[in-house]
């Protein structure tokens, strides 16, 4: 028996979400008295560093190759390795690829599954995993009663803890089954933390009056090292790119800090952001519904308040 965790390595690098699930898997292994094995597929720098997060064995599949993601072939490979390693629990990140794998892998492993777990399982009475549901308005606790289990973990659900030490990754060569899917190209923005992984997010809405005014939002984001986001109307009118849209129909995020300027806070917007740990709302309308969901509020004109906040952050960072 063991716990297997698949760690994604986009562009050959582990991301924070990957280190989080490494920690998650090692804690599950510890609690169930077994070992945590990490699986890395394709190009990845220093796979052995996963040992730091409590992983006792790192299996590095086809380490010299760039392997394009295909849910069908990845499912077969992960399942085969899980069987060979005697893994009964498989942990994944709740990323685009992780979500595409969770259900598939559950079927192939004949496992019960939970997609989007927000905390470690409670083992006091079964194997109980909780997740946020109904637009963040409730948390559901599931008991997975099957012998095999597949869990994907929401980003920022726990902090990666570097308490162990590096291990030597074991290379393995696997022939990937050919499938009918081929990745042609990938277009991602360079240099910024993608929204689902961002710990700090600065977001703005229609109160900005036009795309030409976004400089103050970008300045605030830069001063914090935050990722920028926007509300639905802003993305729909192409003031900002589609991938910045957070909310129910856009990206769901759970950063440590979410700063919203000029967003009224409709329920559809809240659905995508109300799992943020701390919410700051800047709005000139004191009746804006967003203040009800906020931890800190500033009633004022964002064109005054935002630059003032940027200056205060710069002063704080310099001190």
């Amino acid at each position: 028996m063991s716990v297997l965790v698949y760690i994604e390595s986009p562009k050959g690098q582990f991301k924070k979400t990957g280190l989080e699930v490494a920690s998650y898997a090692s804690k599950v292994a510890q609690a169930t008295g077994t070992e945590a094995i990490a699986l890395v597929i394709g190009n990845a720098q220093n796979a052995g560093q996963l040992g730091l997060y409590g992983i006792s064995k790192v299996l590095h599949v086809n380490s010299n190759d760039t392997i394009e993601f295909d849910a069908q072939s990845f499912t077969k490979v992960i399942c085969d390795i899980a069987l060979a390693q005697g893994a009964t629990t498989v942990i994944l990140s709740n990323t685009a690829n992780g979500k595409a794998l969770t259900g598939r892998l559950a079927i192939r492993m004949n496992a019960g599954s939970v997609s989007g777990a927000n905390s470690l399982p409670d083992l006091s009475n079964g194997f109980v995993v909780s997740k946020s549901v109904y637009s963040g308005k409730a948390i559901v606790k599931y008991n997975i009663t099957t012998a095999n289990k597949v869990i994907s973990v929401m980003g920022n659900s726990l902090q990666p803890e570097a308490t162990g030490s590096d291990v030597t990754a074991e290379p393995i060569q696997v022939s990937f089954p050919t499938t009918k899917l081929k990745v042609l190209e990938r277009k991602t923005s360079e240099g910024i933390v993608p929204l689902p992984e961002a710990e700090l997010v600065v977001s703005a809405g229609r109160g900005m009056k036009g795309p030409e005014n976004w400089g103050i939002i970008e300045d605030l984001a830069t001063s914090l090292g935050a990722t920028t986001a926007c509300s639905r109307p802003v993305a729909d009118t192409h003031w900002r790119p589609h991938h910045e849209h957070v909310g129910q129909t856009g990206v769901a995020i759970r950063p440590n800090l979410y700063i919203a300027a000029g967003i009224s806070g409709a329920i559809q917007h809240l659905a995508g952001v109300n799992n943020s740990k701390v919410i700051v709302v800047i709005n000139k309308d004191p009746e804006a519904p967003f203040f009800k969901a906020a931890d800190y509020g500033v009633v004022g004109d964002l064109f005054d308040v935002v630059p003032r906040l940027t200056a205060a952050i710069k002063k704080f960072k310099a001190s």
């Binding site: 598939r104 079927i107 019960g112 997975i144 899917l181 042609l184 277009k187 129910q248 002063k315």
Partner: protein, 269 residues
């Protein structure tokens, strides 16, 4: 004597002549969710969602993106859109809406959608008895956000799966799909049948018109007995998230104070 020119038959001949090349049978799986603005409460010792007084809707990702794109494709190329729902008779109202928007026919598998596996196993068992060129659903439901059913159906049918798809173009048997990934998109090409979960961008919402609503009443809705498997996870309890302690208002002139609170009290910067 003039022979009356039959435009309808001529159109049919044109469509039929292209059948082998283009005509597609698309299965669109829809689910029912509470409207986002619904109040959330639970019953039976917090183990069951309390649906009293709740307005249910067709899951928007299923409706706006999966269903509408399927209809567009058959409008362009000919073919059939079968709407499938796993659920009780009370779901017929959303199924009729899907038919009013433009679905050709519908099937309801008469069982409670107790977990993703139950739903997926029923869909897959049904799909195995037919031959669909494409299987569409929304990227996730807005209540559970699990995004598992599409992946499960694809695995059960041993088909490729493209999730979070925001565009789809089809040429012959080859589909080109853009899927949303962290911070951008990935473009992939799939040969032959596959399962697609649709995200924003795939199509524009369509409001059913009166003609569609009237026609929907006469479109076939077949109800079949459950053919899938039992649930693999059980709901133990629903709990409410810890309540926010209320907003702390900061003087707009004093942003140093906000920064201090974010650092010392909230510990996020």
């Amino acid at each position: 004597m003039w022979q009356k020119y039959d435009f309808k038959q001529a159109y049919k001949n044109i469509v039929n002549s292209n059948i082998k090349l283009y005509q597609m049978n698309i299965l669109v799986c829809i689910s029912k969710t509470p409207d986002t603005t619904s109040k959330i409460s639970f019953k039976s010792g917090d183990t069951e969602y309390n649906s009293d007084g709740v307005t249910f809707i067709m899951n928007p990702y299923d409706e706006w993106y999966a269903l509408v794109r399927a209809i567009e494709l058959t409008e362009q190329n000919g073919g059939n859109v079968t709407v499938l729902n796993v659920g009780p008779a009370s779901n017929d109202i959303i199924i009729r809406k899907a038919l009013a928007i433009g679905g050709s026919d519908a099937v309801r598998i008469d069982t409670e959608a107790s977990d993703a596996y139950t739903v997926a196993s029923n869909i897959a068992a049904y799909a195995k008895t037919k031959s669909f060129d494409l299987i569409f659903l929304g990227k996730e439901t807005i209540d559970y956000n699990g995004s598992e059913v599409g992946a499960m159906v694809a695995e059960l049918l041993d088909l490729p799966y493209v999730s979070y798809a925001s565009t789809l173009e089809i040429s012959g048997s080859t589909s080109t799909v853009t899927r949303d990934i962290e911070g951008g998109v990935e473009v992939c090409q799939v040969d032959g049948p596959f399962v697609l979960s649709a995200a924003k961008g795939m199509a524009e919402q369509r409001i059913p018109n009166m003609k569609g609503i009237m026609m929907a009443k006469n479109k076939p809705l077949e109800v079949i007995a459950p053919i899938g498997d039992a649930a693999k996870v059980s709901t133990i309890q629903f709990v409410l998230p810890p309540a926010k302690s209320g907003v702390k208002l900061i003087d707009p002139e004093n942003m140093d104070e906000l920064v201090r609170l974010l650092h010392e009290e909230a510990k996020v910067i």
